[in-house]
Symmetry: C2
Subunit: 202 residues, 2 copies
DNA sequence: GTCTATAATCCGATAGAC
DNA sequence: GTCTATCGGATTATAGAC
């Protein structure tokens, strides 16, 4: 979102591509759009990237490395498992609230990819974070199957952001529903106790 | 997915449009694709729909009315709230597992719509179901803010389906993770008790 | 590295016959 | 209602000069 100072043309192209692909998807962005945004001729892009597909993949990898890698720190600690999980969820909601482009880019790429691209993303982009979270899930809830649990955790965190744009138009909406800290608190409380006791009311 | 017998050309166009837009999104499908699929000339589509945008909106409304309206029955009953919620979640997972096109179409339209289209969808397509679920959430958990709770419920149910294609390539994957009954059981158990006790192991 | 120019294709939509 | 024919424009990507 914010304007950045890029060290070179290639990274400037990648940074703008992240914003544009996040906003309008692969087919919604033309090489002309990207070229105009960085102030080069369309043909200039092909000096750095073999084609549009490669530019898109590189943009996703660039964004993921920049935004997600710092979060693995919170997962791999050694302290109390619930404390690490809570810290991770708090940091993840904070990042997703701040990096709207990143969240939309991942959403786009998960929806608009064939099997081959999904396999490549799973192996080269998602795997490490997923494994770290799966190990932590195993510590927090030893009796549960870890894969569905990880999906539930990520879904609980991401879905409020995915639905943000349409929730505004649905009944009962309040501005505080966008607050990342409130979202994190809600998710952690739900994971800890379910709805049994209304223990997060205030 | 399955071949259907349509009563007229208009519904045949809508049915095929649902499949195509679900598979490749708005920009990924051309009017030529749709026309060829139903066996008419491209110009013929404009007899039934003013433009591509209207065809897409009508296809979403058509799919939602067909697939979701039957589910409101389970929400509006009068019996035990938890029982109604469990029945609704079970039916919703069953529908989402069966109607893959429908799930992808909603995902596409939520991601690839401007504010105006989202407002129109919220008012004319999502509102009734959302309200019914919100009322039930209020009964089940009187102490909680109902909007975030509804989002958590839907997210818990939908996210396993949204991530189905990529989960196959991630560690710990098992075929039973696709079983709608298992997903429903997992979600209900999580909502009831959180992860406190490993009470869904078997 | 970056440009101009352009090839080759595809797109949404319309006009008008039948 | 459905067709043929086509307009005007956008698209990815390449060729070749500088």
């Amino acid at each position: 979102m914010a304007k950045q100072a890029f060290t070179n043309t290639r990274e400037e192209i990648l940074g703008l591509s992240v914003s544009l692909f996040a906003a309008r998807g692969f087919d919604g962005v033309s090489m002309r759009d990207i070229a105009q945004g960085v102030g080069v001729a369309p043909a200039g892009l092909y000096h750095y990237f073999s084609d549009k597909e490669q530019l898109c993949l590189d943009a996703v990898g660039y964004a993921f490395k920049e935004k997600v890698e710092p979060l693995t720190f919170f997962l791999n600690g050694a302290g109390d498992p619930w404390g690490r999980l809570e810290a991770f969820i708090t940091q993840l909601t904070r990042m997703l609230a701040k990096e709207k482009d990143f969240r939309r880019l991942i959403q786009w790429v998960l929806l608009d990819s064939n099997e081959q691209r999904l396999q490549s993303l799973a192996d080269r982009v998602f795997r490490d974070l997923f494994n770290a979270l799966r190990n932590l899930a195993g510590e927090v809830a030893p009796g549960h199957d870890p894969q569905p649990l990880v999906i539930s955790m990520i879904g609980l965190v991401i879905y409020p952001f995915e639905t943000q744009a349409v929730r505004r138009f649905l009944p009962g909406y309040q501005l505080q529903h966008e607050d990342p800290k409130a979202i994190a608190r809600h998710v952690v409380a739900l994971l800890r106790n379910g709805l049994g006791e209304a223990n997060e009311e205030k």
